[in-house]
């Protein structure tokens, strides 16, 4: 693996950087810090009917209405009760129509880590059962492994088409 990364320095280079890490269930994830606009407390969410489960609804972010996606449900994890640590990470993603602001609900924010390119590996293939295309790579921090997300892919592309298909 290390060899492979070494052979593709440009990939390693582009993946290196600061990541916001957070917890979803028992798993640790990382999000490119440049995509993160802000982190806000959980607030009352207005459910939008006839949208997929993982779309929790919309919130009022200082006068702008933005959709909020429950990442747990998005990744097929069990639904969990909201706790006081549950919060919304507001991200800016690139969408077909330009930049879009969305909220993502996560269980708990951990920290911001600077992960060097050498510590990031490609996601292993798990076969057809697990989609890995929205995984940017696996970050090795000491003993733990963080799943680094390509948030653009998580919240747009196919998934958005899915929302739109559901709503059509």
């Amino acid at each position: 693996m290390t060899e492979m990364v070494a052979n593709r320095p440009e990939v390693a280079q582009s993946r290196a950087g600061k990541y916001l890490t957070f917890r979803l269930g028992e798993e640790e994830f990382g999000l490119e810090i440049l995509k993160v606009q802000e982190i806000i407390q959980l607030q009352s969410i207005t459910r939008v009917p006839r949208t997929p489960d993982f779309v929790r609804g919309v919130i009022n972010l200082r006068g702008k209405v933005i959709p909020v996606v429950d990442l747990r449900l998005k990744f097929g994890l069990d639904r969990a009760e909201d706790t006081e640590r549950t919060c919304i990470v507001v991200v800016q993603i690139r969408h077909a129509d330009g930049m879009v602001v969305m909220g993502t609900i996560i269980d708990e924010v951990r920290e911001v880590l600077d992960i060097p390119g050498a510590s990031i590996e490609d996601a292993p293939s798990f076969g057809a059962s697990i989609e890995t295309e929205f995984i940017l790579g696996m970050g090795k921090i000491g003993q733990s492994v963080k799943i680094l997300l390509d948030i653009d892919k998580v919240l747009s592309g196919k998934e958005i088409q899915h929302i739109q298909a559901a709503s059509a």
Binding site: Q43, S44, T46, R47, V48, P49, R50, T51, V55, G57, V58, I59, N60, R62, G63, K64, V65, I66, P67, I93, H95, D97, G98, V100, V101, M102, L155, S156, I160, I163, Q164, S167, A168
Partner: protein, 841 residues
Amino acid sequence: MSIPTETRKIRQDLAELRISLEKGEIKLVSSLIPQLEALCEMGGIPGAMRTLARRLAGMAAAMGPEGDRPQKEVAKLIQGLAKLEHSMEEPPAKGLQQSASAPPKGPTAPGSEEMDLLERFASRQRTELEEFEVAILEREKGAADGDEFVKRYLHTLKGEFGVLDLGEWSGLLHEVETELEEKRLGTEGLLRLKDLIGERLGTLDSPRGRIVSAEDRQTVFGAPPSQFPTAPTNDPSTSTDFAGDPSFLVDFIAEGGDHIHSIEKSLLKLEINPTDEESINLVFRSCHTLKGLAAFLELKEIQRLAHAAENLMDRARNHAIVLGGQHVDVLLEATDAFRTLVDGLERQVTGLPWEPPSNLEALIDRLCEADYLPPIPALPPEKSSRMMGELLVEKGVAPEAVERALRDQKEGDTRPLGEILIQAGEANPRDVGQILAQKAQVAKAPEGKNLSVEETIRVPVQRLDLLIDAIGESVIAQSMVWADTRLQEVRDLALEKKIAQATLMLRQIQELSMSLRMVGIRSTFQKMSRLVRDLARKLDKQIELCMEGEDTELDKTVVENIGDPLVHMVRNSVDHGIESPVERIAAGKPAQGRISLRAYHKAGSVFIEIEDDGKGLDRDAILRKAVAAGKAKADQSYSDAEVHQMVFLPGLSTAKAVTDVSGRGVGMDVVKKNIEALRGTVEIRSEKGIGSSFVIRLPLTLAIIQGMVVRSGRERYIVPTLSILTTVRPEPGSVHTVVGKGEVLNLRGDIVRLVRLGRIFSDSTEEDASVHQGVVVVVEDGFGKKSGIVVDEILEQQQVVIKNIGGGMGQVPGITGGAVMSDGSVSLILDVGAVVKIASE
């Protein structure tokens, strides 16, 4: 003040450089710098010119010797250079002999000032062209004011093109005028001219737009106008022919009179405020036009006089001199001389003998000399705010006389000071009048700007929308404060009063901000008059179009988007509604059909009506067609309204047979869709043989709606008030189930299908409450059918600002958007038509 030879050389060099820059040889930018710097060093040049040169040198230096230079920058530089060259033009020698045939300026690249003028011209003409079109149509009907307007407009436009150095255009206009006079050009040609100008308005600043090609001419005149020179104003060989034509002289007399009048008016303003740019420019332009016209007609005296006056004004315009009383005096004298000359011309045309005034040469000399008079500083404004008496003493009234008059006033004389003095013979009326005028000026306009024209600022729509958005936010923020429970706990009357005051102000600002986006519907209506005319002519029908309420204002977006549906409906009225004259007479109606376009405000909405007195909708034919298309049942009885709404059914409308039989419906589904996209509704009233009317109801603004806040389960929704017919709490026994599933409500005899909002919008398995505990909001779906939406509770009525529910969500069926409520949470706004549709699936 003659410009030295070195300057002339620099000017030549700069002109060469500019021309190569225009050709794209931008490497030469750096070689401009030394020339410009040399110019700055030179003595005896006007300050404005020096500043301009310095700025251009800075610009050139900033561009650097090499590298990519943005096209825009280079263009700006070229413009600046052209302006500089223009200002370096040599002033004429005293006698003016060599400039007797002063040609109009060549088509140089327009300077930034001219660009501005062009832009203003174009934006003004856009509206005026519409009026022109209206006038053309009226003229056709034989209206005298229409004819007069057309002629006046053409004439003014010709003049304006001339002032803007658009010689080819003014030439074209001139030809059109002649053709019109000779009755060789009719309504069609005028309309084509209007279209041509309209198309080209935006491109007048480009070298291409300045040219009137042979094709353009052909568009207007129909056939190639072989007998006309391409550009009479620029062609000296033909000018004599024109000059001999008395009709030109008559035109010139009329137009010249106008210019003289405006010069005089502006000069009087300048006497009071010598630095009023607007007036200076006006006088300059009028002199310039007079000169051009006179040169064209070979009226040497007027031309020379105008040239001298123009030069003087040019210096004032470039701030080389400040216009003092002596300048204005001599200019006013020149105005009088103009008038004498024009009057003389009139005598000549009518065959009376006339001698040019003898003092003309002397006057021209004085105009040129006026240049060299030392500028007299303008009256400091504070002077005029001083006491009347003081000012009069300065004018030479004896101080004792003033004191006496003041004493009289104290002793009960109610007359103003000036009047006392005049009547006592101590002061002359002219002085008093002047001082009064000065004082009035100071009192009225401290800035010295006193324009009666409505001033406008052009602002990008985007910026406007941002402002409106921000104001919408602050209204929400304000109501969040107002609704805060802590405020209720405090129970502080003074505090509440303050907040209420702030709320009021904010509402005012919001209303004001909404009005910023409002525009009149006039231009949209005026397009219809052209459409009706053209179509009627094509179809051999006689139709009169009446318009009412063209000044009704709507949101800009609405006005922009209502045009197409209107065109469609008006076309339908002309094509299928109004019968041919023969049919009409047979039906006992006047041969001329009538279509009325009306716009008005009512009940917080804007209504637009299209009414015709044609044959009306053919109910049976529509129904037949609808049944055939499977959109209606043959054995069911339909109300007229329901049948009329079928016109809007998609698929049905596009069937050609329907058009032939019933006469209506092509693309009507699109019309309806467009109107609904603007959150409007359209209704049809029609009576066979009498006529039909289409009533479009539109919201005043797209940003805010009046909504009813309802609760369904744990969620709150907003139902647009516009789509609510009524709300009822169903009585026991009025709700019936259909096959155990569907529910209907008997609403005063109407069977209304019920839609449970909770059921279609909720994935919860909660047991539905009984309908009787809830409220039914009766709405009309898109096709005239009533449906009842069952909700748990009606909470309140509220105005809400519509928000997109976030990018990336796509279109959510049944939801038009979200609104931030006063508690800060988001509520969804229902699209009732879609909600009913979901329930039917």
